[in-house]
Amino acid sequence: MALLEIQNVTRRFGDFTAVDNVSIGIEAGEFFTLLGPSGCGKTTLLRMIAGFDLPDGGRILLKGEDLVDRPPERRPMRMVFQSYALFPHMTVEGNVAFPLQMAKTPASEISAKVEAALEDVRLTGFDKRYPHELSGGQRQRVAIGRALVTHPSVLLLDEPLAALDAKLREEMQIELINLQKEVGITFVYVTHDQTEALALSHRIAVMNKGRIEQLDVPSKIYGFPKTRFVADFIGHINLLSGSVSERQGGVITLAVEGLGPVRVTSASPISVGGAGTIALRPEKIRIQSSAPTDSPDNHYRGTVGDLLYMGDVTVYKVSIPGGTRIEALLANSQSGRAKFFEIGDAVEVSWPVDAGHLIEE
C-alpha cells in the first residue's frame, strides 16, 4: 500500500464538481505532481489532503489510516502556501521555530533544529530578519524550511514558485529537486506549468475538470499522451485526426483529411473504421528541401507558411496543399545560422512511423 492513498475522492460545490472521483496512490519518497489548467481542482484536492476541506465522497488514507477525523493540525503533513503565509510579526527564526513549539519540542532542542532547517534551505544567517526584509525567493525558502523542520511524512506544495520570476524559478526548481532527494520526504506538488512538472516530478497526474486524465512518469506523459487533452496541454504537438483505413501488424494507417494516409505503429486494438488521433511532437519531424525518395516514412510536400526564430531552435509551420498545417522544429545547431528555410520555400516534411503516437477517441 502506498504512503498516501487517495481513493475515489469527490468534492462538489453546489452542483459544480471540483474534484471528480480521483484515485491516486503516492509512494514514500516520491516527488508527485498534480498538473492541470487553472480551475481544474488542484488546490481543492490539495486542501482536502491537508485537511482544510473534507471530501464529499471517497477516502484519504495516510499509512493506511483514514484521515477523515484528523483536523489539519493533527495531520503529519505540511503545506507550503502559494502566498508563503509567513507570520509577519515573527523573525525567520520565529517562523521556523513555530511548528516545533506547537509540537512541544523541548526549548533546548529548538535552536539546533531551526539552524539545521535553515541550512537545508540555504538561509543560514538570516534567522533574525523579518519576512518583509527578505526577497521573494528567500521568503519561499523560509516557507519550505518552516514546513520541513518537523520532518513531516508528506510536504504539500501549492504552486510554490508561481510568484517568482523565470530565472529564480529555474534556480528554485533545481534546489527543490536536490532538497527533496536530501530530506527524502514525499512531495505532492501542484502546478499549472507543464515544463516545471516535467522537470521536477517522478510521476505526474494530469488533471482536467476535476478528473485525472493521465497518471504516469514525465517521459510517458510527454511522449505518449493518452488523451487529446494531455497531448495538447503538454508542450507543442501536431494532432492529426482521422479514421483507421488499414491495420497491418503493428502499423495502423489513418486517413487524415487534408493530409492523406498517415502510418503509425501502435499496439492499440482499434479496428478499421475507428476514429483516432495521431499526436506528433514537432521535434520528431524532419524538414528537408527534397524528399527522401525510397523510405518507409510518412512524407508530405508543402510550403513554409510561417516561421518563428527562437534562438536555439526555429519553428516552421508547413502548409500542406490539402489544408493541414504541420509544425516542425529544427535546432539551429550550427552557430550563426538563423534558419534553414524562408517563408514560401517548398519543403518536404517526413517522420518515421514510430515517431507518432495514436490516441483512440
Binding site: T43, A50, F52, P71, P72, E73, R74, M77, R78, M79, F81, Q82, S83, Y84, A85, L86, F87, P88, H89, F98, P99, M102, A103, Y130, P131, H132, R146, A147, T150, D158, E159
Partner: protein
C-alpha cells in the same frame, strides 16, 4: 528631473491644502491651550474668573495654583481614581469589543455593513439622552435592579441600589466608549489574511494557539488605537459621573468643571486641566511606544488564499 518636479507639489499648493486645517487647529486648539496655560499662572479674581494680569504696574504671575495641587493629596487621589476608571473602562471595552469585532470581520459581506451600522447606531441619539436612558435602566423600579435584588434576597443580602454608584458609572462608561474600540479593532481584524491562520493550523496550532500567537499579536495596532480612543476621553469625562454616580464617584472631569463653573477658580481649574492633558498624552505616548515594537510589518501581513 522633470518627473521629480511634477511630483513635488508647489509651495503654494501645499499651503492651500494644509492651511485651513492648520488655521483651525491654531485658532481653536493651540490658542485656547496657550490661554489656559497662561491662566494657570495667574491669580483668581475676587469674585471668580481671573485677577488683572498687571497689578500696580507689576506682572502678576505665580505658581500658587500648582503649589496647591501638589500640596493637597486629595487631587492626586482623584486623578488616580479617574485613571483607574478609565483603565477599567478600556479593559472592559477590549474584552467586549474583541469578540464583537472579530464576529463582524468574519461575517459575510452582506451582513457586515449592517452590523457596523448597529455598532454606530447609538451615535444617532444625543449623548446626554443615552446617559439618562441608563438612569431609567438602572433605576430601582427597573427590571434589572429588581432581579438583582431578588437574587440578593435569596442569599439573605440587603437590597442594593444600582443607580448613583461606581457600577452605574462604569457600565455607562463602557457603553459609551465601546464603539470607539470596536471600529479600529474591526478595521484591523478585517485585513487579516486567512492564509496565515491556515498556515498556523497546518503547522500544528490549535484554535487557542492560533488566536494567541497569530491573531492577537497582529491585532495589537488596532487594540492600541482603540485603547487611546477610549482611555483619553474616559479619563476626562464628567457628564456620566455627574448623572449616574454618587457623591463618591466624582472624577477629575467633575472637579475641573466645578473649578470653572461653581468655585470659579480659573487658575486652579487650568492647572488640573493641564495635568489631565499631560497624563493622558504621556499614557498615549507610552502606548504608541509599546505598539511600535509590535508594529513590525503591517504591509507584508497581506497575501491571498493559496
Amino acid at each position: 528631473m522633470i518627473v521629480v518636479a511634477v511630483h513635488t507639489p508647489s509651495r503654494l499648493g501645499r499651503w492651500l491644502v494644509s492651511g485651513p486645517p492648520l488655521a483651525y487647529l491654531i485658532v481653536f486648539f493651540a490658542l485656547p491651550s496657550l490661554i489656559m496655560v497662561l491662566a494657570s499662572f495667574r491669580t483668581p479674581g475676587e469674585f471668580g474668573g481671573l485677577a488683572p494680569l498687571i497689578e500696580e504696574g507689576k506682572l502678576d504671575l505665580n505658581l500658587e495654583s500648582y503649589a496647591r495641587f501638589f500640596s493637597e493629596s486629595v487631587y492626586a487621589q482623584i486623578f488616580l481614581k479617574s485613571f483607574g476608571y478609565a483603565l477599567l473602562t478600556t479593559l472592559f471595552c477590549i474584552t467586549l469589543a474583541y469578540p464583537l469585532a472579530s464576529l463582524i470581520a468574519r461575517s459575510s459581506r452582506r451582513y457586515r455593513d449592517l452590523l457596523l451600522l448597529l455598532v454606530i447606531l447609538p451615535f444617532w441619539s444625543n449623548f446626554l439622552i443615552r446617559i439618562y436612558a441608563w438612569m431609567i435602566l438602572l433605576g430601582p423600579n427597573a427590571a434589572l435592579a429588581r432581579t438583582v435584588n431578588r437574587v440578593l434576597a435569596w442569599f439573605g443580602h440587603d437590597p442594593v441600589p444600582l443607580l448613583f454608584s461606581a457600577f452605574a458609572v462604569l457600565v455607562c462608561l463602557v457603553y459609551v466608549h465601546l464603539p470607539f474600540m470596536v471600529l479600529p479593532l474591526y478595521a484591523n481584524l478585517e485585513k487579516h489574511d486567512q492564509a496565515l491562520l491556515d498556515a498556523a493550523q497546518d503547522l500544528g496550532a490549535n484554535a487557542w494557539q492560533r488566536f494567541w500567537r497569530i491573531t492577537f499579536p497582529l491585532s495589537l495596532p488596532g487594540v492600541y488605537a482603540g485603547a487611546a480612543l477610549v482611555f483619553i476621553p474616559a479619563f476626562g469625562i464628567f457628564a456620566i459621573p455627574d448623572i449616574l454616580g454618587g457623591p463618591e464617584d466624582s472624577l477629575i472631569g467633575n472637579v475641573i468643571k466645578q473649578q470653572f463653573l461653581e468655585t470659579r477658580d480659573w487658575p486652579f481649574g487650568s492647572v488640573l486641566s493641564i495635568v489631565l492633558t499631560v497624563v493622558a498624552l504621556a499614557f498615549a505616548g507610552l502606548a504608541a511606544w509599546v505598539a511600535r515594537g509590535n508594529l513590525r510589518t503591517p504591509s507584508s501581513a497581506r497575501g491571498s488564499r493559496a
